[in-house]
Subunit: 386 residues, 2 copies
Amino acid sequence: MSAEVGAGALPTKGFAFELRAEDGHARRATFTTPRAVVETPTFMPVGTAATVKGLTPDEVEATGARMILANTYHLWLRPGAELIARRGGVTRFMGWEHALLTDSGGFQVFSLAGLRKVDDDGVTFRSHLDGAEKRLTPEESMRVQRLLGSTVAMVLDVCPPGGAARPEVEEAMRRTTAWAKRCLETEPAEGQARFGIVQGATYLDLRRAHLAELAPMAFDGLALGGFSVGEPVETMYELLDAMAHELPRQKPRYLMGVGTPYDLLKAIGAGVDLFDCVLPTRNARNGQALTWDGRVNLRQARHKEDDGPISEACGCPVCARFSRAYLRHLVKANELLGHRLVTQHNLSFYGELVAEARRQIEAGTYHSWAAEAAKRMREGDEVGRG
Amino acid sequence: MSAEVGAGALPTKGFAFELRAEDGHARRATFTTPRAVVETPTFMPVGTAATVKGLTPDEVEATGARMILANTYHLWLRPGAELIARRGGVTRFMGWEHALLTDSGGFQVFSLAGLRKVDDDGVTFRSHLDGAEKRLTPEESMRVQRLLGSTVAMVLDVCPPGGAARPEVEEAMRRTTAWAKRCLETEPAEGQARFGIVQGATYLDLRRAHLAELAPMAFDGLALGGFSVGEPVETMYELLDAMAHELPRQKPRYLMGVGTPYDLLKAIGAGVDLFDCVLPTRNARNGQALTWDGRVNLRQARHKEDDGPISEACGCPVCARFSRAYLRHLVKANELLGHRLVTQHNLSFYGELVAEARRQIEAGTYHSWAAEAAKRMREGDEVGRG
């Protein structure tokens, strides 16, 4: 792996990160990859099992997304990484023509698998599908992600639970750093970048210490892991404000598994470039639609006879065609089309949110705009369950 | 309701049925309705709760369908017929721009509801959703269908279970005839035709006797009810061959709730024009795809590494983009996109099947073609569960 010469080049050939504008800590940049030019800040829809719930790749593309996320753990267990490699990788398998980021598999091992045991070399666990004993090491994670053929591979990390005590967090950091080195020693797939992950839970000094260990390494980007794992949201915001901008300026910064529209507005302001979260897709299946005027809970009785769209301001195909009354009926009847359409709307909204954030950063008006947008959302939020 | 003068006019204003070609008992016709011109023979996708499982109206239209079916029972209970009427009827509610047929609600009362009690006036039952006691009479069924605003309303009938003894079947016929008269005495919605239903189970003489009662009535079409309710398929074929062509020649003939591709080929040959069935949508959700080469069971291991489409010969958007290997993965992982895509393929195939049947009737080659098509399907059928 040779470092390219030139402004914005990243350690891996074919990757570059060009800062276009800055507004306080907020950044507008272009993340060039061999498979897609990704304008940041951006949101990556979650396609856990090589499918963004209910949507075709064309529909995902139409939301503005140019990079999606797939879960290594899920694809490794089913249908299997070798099978996907023989199909030409995840993107070809599912028909997605742009960039793909895969996580390391570690997060799901910690959250889904039974009977796991972590040691310095890796983690042993039982598959949540069939109970089979499996072993995940930094090398195995990179091997699997190589087979999946992702554009960006994440290093295997240890993510301590929210509220973990310092010694546990320090051990997780120590292992994560050691594993990061081992990951970088493996051979990536052709055209595959690698991102490191900064841990440290809610301890600012530990976050900084861990960042200091990872920043000099030859990663193409750095992620903040271990957020949104149970800590108060205000704690996350304080930490992001304090240190997100301390991540290397010339590389993409990725906040893993976050978050709500509020979280995105906050984190973009703190200097984050990339996001992924199951919220817009998972909440859609419960009838929660997201808009500039806050959350719309389609299960609420107030939408029963509402012939208007989810959002008058929204330009998505769902708001152009379907009423709240109809969508509410579909959601209440647990109809597939309801899950699909609200997912499509929500991802379109996230696409609009990051596109507008990019415009506001370019105009130098990001921070006042973001505060105003968050206020408007909060005022309109439907929080009840209807 | 005044009968229009002119070739092909049906009793209800705005409806006509023009025979274009006949090939033995098989007929190629045009069923004109105020909302759509329906070329027959045709298949009506089932949109139980005002949605064809997982598909948008545009996608349903692209399969060639110009008339779909919705279930009165389901919509009556949820979200309610009055609510739908205030939205402009089912078609406007769901965004379907073509014709809609609603059943009477009777079939679901008999198959889904608990504690039902039939008397000469109607049927009392408990909702399968909340246990509430409800009453369905011929007048109430027509009132609900008027509110739903369907293009074709079905009269309330009594459908005896498969294998019922003669006395039970005779009582069902007697009530169905009495109810048919009462249905015709109600006022339909503007632009709404009404079809009668011929019962008689597997007794050819009873079928003929019931047809003789209904044929003179002012219906716009006649249906054959009480098929595919447990009787051997060969028995249904024999009865259709014997008497489907005895239904009025100048009105559409509709075989309710049937069937497989084989059933359609058989029944079209016997003179049937309209079909509906949950098979292509329901089986899709189990991974069963239908093709000219028979059923493809995507759960079978043989498709694991198959990069080809469901059918090389198919022109549908699913076969253009997605491999059997990918679809199998989606089906095995119970992913929404799998249900959606196989449904879209299956309805496209049904659309192709009836379009080709129409061409073959026009060419006078229907019967040899249908025998050949059925043979080819039977040879390719994957019947195992994989």
